[in-house]
């Protein structure tokens, strides 16, 4: 028994630090995911290395090349075995043997085939994966792959390192996030709209108690509920909303202080704005519940079934509000008061969640699914995060390339910060066009740099004109700079771009956090970065 317990506990220990970011659910999703990597250069192997360390389910490397001396210089994974022995070996195999060493819990496989050929001849190969990471792939292959992945509903993450620049682009029709984990969010306290139990509890405490110890241990939730009521009584039932009123409300709170150092009153003053929050739901959530996908049918995803239930909830039990989150922040308080408040918030959250559960079951029945086919835990997580739901939809690469949003593009060109990113975006596409004509990347031969600069410029102008942007000029310096890069995959940039790509994969697989909404461009010259939504 002891041995069994240790065996269960061990992987937890190994993943302890990351479980604190994405939890057991996130880890379980990672362990179920299968990833396909196209091209195992430094960028791709860096990305996979990070995922293998984190305990991803399985990885499959597709690469038809052999290990060359240049790989020994910039790719860690190739030469884990004693040095030059692996020269001439399959690069995919060499990379995999190293990846396997990192984590024996991960299934590591490889296919010795060029990614381009795989895309052209065996498109159904990709349907077995959760995510495909395409690295260092030219535009033409990437476009085809995007079409294949979209048709099969596979997530695609494209990554490229090029000299001191690089890009990462996520592509998937729709990605719904329940746990978006924003790094700041207002507590869901309902101080503007307290329900009966909360009001009753607040009433049960005398906020004018003259005992200084009781007075300074009354939690600010109680103070605010009571004083908001008092305020409303004196203002036609309205809560403070203008700047002036908010200031007066703070004064009202301060007037109740017995002593200047009462922490709970200071907290009440600082939190007084929570009384004035706009009632009802945010525009983001409104958009989601009004989305046509919330009219559910048998083929709807669990997420949208929940959204449908949420819509009903808001219109009925919710009285225009979302289910309550049910947690309260730390605050200065007597322990009993705090514990009672916790229980009151929890109880309301449970009631709301139960109502949601009921509605979910009815909807499932209506659309012909088993009423228990969505788990309670899922519904609970959904309710807890109802204010933070996110739906991410990405345009296909074909749409982006053929019909860019011109107004956005012009905005990016005009903006000082994003102008460089737009330049790199155009130049990285131009590089592929040049390569298609000359069968090599610009700047590869020192002797031809002078000729390659104007060639790259011509290619860039053709990209611009295809986008409908005649007359837009690029930075001469950057054109020269990109030529000089000569397509080098230098390690610090590969580590960074690979890191970003694997981070996106983690977000997409765990369905936590919000993935980058567009093409992420990195500029290693002055470490700027920009997400272009085109």
């Amino acid at each position: 028994m002891a041995a069994a317990a240790v065996a269960v506990a061990e992987p937890k220990t190994k993943y302890d630090r990351q479980l604190r970011i994405w939890g057991d659910q996130g880890q379980a999703a990672l362990e179920k995911a299968s990833i396909c990597l196209l091209n195992s250069g430094p960028t791709g192997t860096e990305a996979l290395k990070n995922l293998v360390l984190g305990g991803i389910g399985s990885v499959t490397v597709v690469d038809g090349s052999k290990v060359e001396p240049s790989d020994l210089g910039n790719n860690f994974l190739c030469n884990s075995r004693v040095n030059k022995e692996c020269l001439g070996q399959s690069r995919a195999q060499s990379v995999c043997s190293f990846l396997q060493e990192l984590n024996d819990a991960v299934k590591v496989k490889y296919v010795e085939e060029s990614p381009g050929t795989m895309i052209d001849t065996n498109p159904s190969f990709f349907s077995q994966f959760t995510v495909v990471i395409a690295t260092q792939l030219p535009e033409s292959s990437l476009l085809k792959l995007d079409g294949i992945c979209r048709a099969a509903d596979i997530v695609l993450v494209a990554a490229r390192s090029y000299g001191l620049t690089g890009l990462v682009r996520v592509s998937v029709k729709e990605h719904c996030v329940i746990e978006s984990k924003p790094d700041h969010f207002l507590d869901d306290l309902r101080l503007h709209n307290p329900w009966t139990e909360l009001k009753q509890f607040a009433k049960s405490i005398d906020i004018c108690d003259k005992d200084p110890v009781v007075h300074k241990h009354t939690p600010y939730i109680v103070i605010l509920v009571r004083l908001a009521e008092k305020w409303a009584d004196a203002h036609d039932g309205k809560l403070p909303s203008t700047r002036q009123e908010k200031r007066e409300f703070k004064d009202l709170i301060r007037a109740h202080m017995l002593n200047v150092d009462e922490e709970n009153y200071k907290e009440a003053v600082e939190s007084s704005y929570k009384v004035s929050v706009t009632p009802g739901i945010s525009t983001e959530i409104r958009q989601i519940i009004d989305d046509s996908s919330s009219e559910v049918n048998l083929s709807s995803s669990d997420f949208w079934v929940l959204v449908a239930a949420l819509k009903e909830f808001i219109a009925n039990e919710g009285n225009g509000d979302l289910p309550l989150e049910g947690t309260i922040p730390d605050m200065t308080s007597q322990t009993e008061y705090y514990v009672s408040l916790q229980k009151i918030y929890q109880a309301k959250a449970e009631t709301d969640c139960l109502a949601m559960e009921h509605r979910v079951k009815n909807i499932l029945k209506r659309i012909g699914r088993h009423p228990d086919s969505i788990s309670r835990a899922y519904i609970k997580t959904f309710c807890k995060n109802a204010r933070k739901l996110r739906v991410c939809r990405y345009r296909s690469m074909e749409e982006e390339f053929n019909a860019p949003v011109i107004s956005e593009v012009q905005k990016y060109f005009a903006d000082e910060d994003s102008c460089f990113a737009m330049n790199f975006y155009i130049l990285l596409r131009a590089v592929d066009r040049l390569a298609a004509n000359y069968s090599r990347l610009p700047g590869i031969f020192d002797s031809e740099i002078d000729e390659d600069v104007p060639r790259l410029k011509v290619a860039a102008v053709s990209v611009l004109s295809d986008m409908g942007l005649n007359g837009t000029s690029l930075s001469e310096d950057l054109v020269t700079e990109v030529c000089r890069f000569a397509g080098a995959e230098i390690h610090p940039v590969a580590a960074f771009i690979g890191g970003v790509a694997s981070q996106e994969v983690i977000k997409l697989v765990t369905k936590q956090f919000v993935p980058l909404m567009g093409t992420f461009i990195f500029n290693g010259i002055d470490l700027k970065s920009q997400v272009l939504a085109l």
Partner: protein, 623 residues
């Protein structure tokens, strides 16, 4: 990089890396693959299982071995021709003096604690070697450059001060779970297994003094282990609570705690039945109460009875399996048995005081101030460090950047590059501005000033204290016996009674020869200190007041402050005047994010560092 000049600079460079942890592993690999060929690496840690999800140069078979040596060997396997020198040692050791630092072209930090970061900063300033500093927490990270005279030094901006709790909150009136954890870790665990000579605020006297022992924690040679464990249980969770309850004044406006006795929590279990499964531990596995009791899920909240079982079992396992370590154990978040003991004890205490119980997983996070960490961020940050290091080697001063990596793209940016700031003219480390110390010179001993201010706040390692031309204290080896005795005497004297009396207006000169740092402190005599806000009984101010952390870890406040932060972030690039703000804001934000209970955390990849409890800091230093 990507140019002949940078390739030359990289090839010729001699670099020092401090830290071979999460960032360090990535950094060493990236340096090697970028063409660096003379790398020196210092790390005093050994490899733990919880490193393996990101410190990719290490394997399970390396657990327990030196990080520096294993990392070196792993990288030499694929780059056999480069020179990597590894030191399994503390960067604060005397061998790494200013002359040692002078041989390098650049120093790269991948550290996990403020103390060492400050030390390296000072040596880099003294040796005039550029420093590239870094840190990560979850998806957040940062890379900064510090070049003497050109940019601010690591300490030009005050770092957030660690949260400390009033002693009485910990010993008698806990109101949050974190208070119970601090009690279990810094009082109970330290009392049971730590250095016996340490001060400890735990009551050790038994009921009516009937016992022959002056300290109930002492175990007789022939005392039955089960008996002992139960006796300790009843003493700390039962009797000590009864004693506290006698002080009516305390409870006038507080909920009274409930004493907990073993006969009530585990009435059905006799001494013999309990802990029969110990044989399961066959000596190969680390002893664990969870394993021997068959508890598998660290994320489950145990009942009071289960917590009691775990508590008794851990106590027994320590005495049975780890007897040799008793007396010099220091709480370590990677020590499973220690975490089990602290979790169960904190939970039993929480039960007494009506505070919600927590799982081992959560308790471990609080106790270890664990910063979450993931491979992706470390890889990204290591890439950025090397890009920055190459600029430093080429003296490309105008392109230096302080870079912050964000968790969520803000205004469509994931990275926030900021131009470095000028040195802070009032920084006590890189300029010579005097500090001001408010202290009661009639009651405060020199020892307290040295421990709480000079070592803890100023981060000096081996300080020397002078009043005018009179040397009153010096640390370190090589002292004459009579000198050492004299200094030891001075330590116990109050300031006003030192050979050169320290009174209002006196100026102290404090120096650390190893760090080549000297600064002066002007003394202001003050008699009254707020016990809650100024628990040290001393207040240091001067170069700029340390950022005051949110004292009541109020989630609402944190949320509010970080929401305004984002606006600042967005505007920063447009308006250079706000850049400074961005820096501060991000730094404080990081700390908020990293810790649910608003203890201050180091922004690092691996761990903790700043603990909320000053006594623990002291222990860490002496390690």
């Amino acid at each position: 990089m990507a140019s002949a000049a940078s390739e030359e600079a990289v090839k010729a460079a001699k670099v020092l890396m401090v830290g071979a942890g999460g960032i360090g592993c990535e950094l060493l690999k990236t340096l090697a693959l970028t063409g660096f060929s003379d790398i020196h690496l210092i790390d005093l840690d050994t490899i733990e299982v919880s490193n393996l999800n990101r410190q990719f140069l290490f394997r399970k078979s390396h657990v327990g071995q030196s990080k520096a040596h294993v990392a070196r060997d792993a990288v030499l396997k694929f780059r056999p021709k480069i020179n990597i020198s590894s030191y399994h040692a503390n960067v604060k050791d005397a061998q790494f003096n200013v002359d040692f630092f002078k041989q390098f072209n650049v120093v790269l930090n991948g550290l996990d604690n403020l103390d060492a970061r400050r030390h390296v900063n000072r040596l880099c300033l003294a040796a005039e070697v550029p420093l590239v500093e870094s840190g990560t927490t979850g998806f957040l990270g940062q890379v900064t450059v510090h070049v003497k005279g050109k940019t601010e030094c690591y300490e030009c901006q005050p770092k957030p001060v660690p949260k400390s709790y009033p002693v009485c909150t910990i010993t008698s009136t806990p109101s949050k779970f974190v208070h119970c954890i601090v009690w279990a870790k810094d009082l109970l665990f330290a009392k049971l297994f730590g250095d016996k000579n340490q001060d400890n605020d735990l009551n050790v006297h038994s009921k009516d003094g009937s016992s022959s022992k002056s300290d109930v924690f002492e175990r007789d040679v022939d005392e039955d282990l089960d008996q002992y464990a139960r006796r300790i249980y009843d003493h700390v969770f039962g009797y000590n609570i009864e004693v506290a309850l006698d002080n009516e004044e305390t409870w006038k406006n507080r909920r009274r705690p409930t004493p907990v006795y073993i006969r009530d929590t585990l009435p059905e279990e006799t001494v013999q039945q309990n802990g029969t499964s110990r044989e399961c531990n066959n000596g190969h596995e680390e002893p664990s109460a969870m394993a021997s009791l068959g508890f598998r899920n660290p994320q489950e909240i145990w009942t009071l009875a289960d917590n009691s079982r775990v508590f008794l079992e851990t106590l027994k396992l320590f005495f049975e399996k780890r007897q040799k370590e008793i007396g010099n154990l220091i709480f370590d978040k990677d020590d499973q048995l220690a975490v089990e003991l602290v979790t169960s004890a904190a939970n039993i205490r929480a039960h007494s005081f009506g505070i919600p119980l927590h799982s081992l997983f959560e308790a471990k996070g609080v106790a270890g101030n664990i910063v979450h960490a993931v491979a992706t961020t470390n890889a990204m940050i290591a890439g950025l460090i090397v890009i920055e290091a190459v600029k430093v080697l080429q003296g490309d001063y105008k392109n230096y950047r302080m870079t912050y990596c964000l968790e969520h793209a803000k205004r469509k940016m994931l990275l926030m590059p900021v131009e470095p700031f000028e040195p802070n003219e009032s920084c006590y480390v890189c300029s010579e501005t005097p500090l001001l110390l408010d202290v009661n010179t009639k009651t405060t001993k020199l020892r307290e000033v040295i421990d709480k201010i000079i070592k803890s706040k100023l981060g000096m390692n081996l300080p020397l204290v002078m009043i005018g031309s009179t040397l009153v204290f010096e640390d370190g080896d090589g002292l004459e016996e009579d000198e050492a005795a004299n200094y030891a005497l001075n330590l116990e004297k109050v300031l006003a009674e030192l050979p050169a009396p320290v009174i209002n207006g006196t100026k102290l000169t404090v120096e650390d020869f190893q760090q080549e740092l000297s600064c002066s402190i002007n003394i202001k005599h003050r008699e009254e200190f707020d016990e809650e806000k100024e628990p040290d009984g001393m207040v240091l101010s001067g170069w700029s007041a340390p950022v005051e952390k949110q004292v009541t870890s109020n989630g609402g406040k944190l949320a509010a402050s970080s929401s305004s932060a984002h606006d600042t972030v967005g505007d920063a690039s447009a308006n250079p005047g706000t850049k400074r703000k961005l820096d501060e804001v991000l730094e404080s934000k990081e700390n908020c994010d990293a810790s649910s209970s608003a203890q201050v955390i180091e922004d690092d990849d691996d761990t903790i560092m700043l603990d909320e409890d000053p006594t623990l800091l002291k222990k860490k230093r002496s390690q």
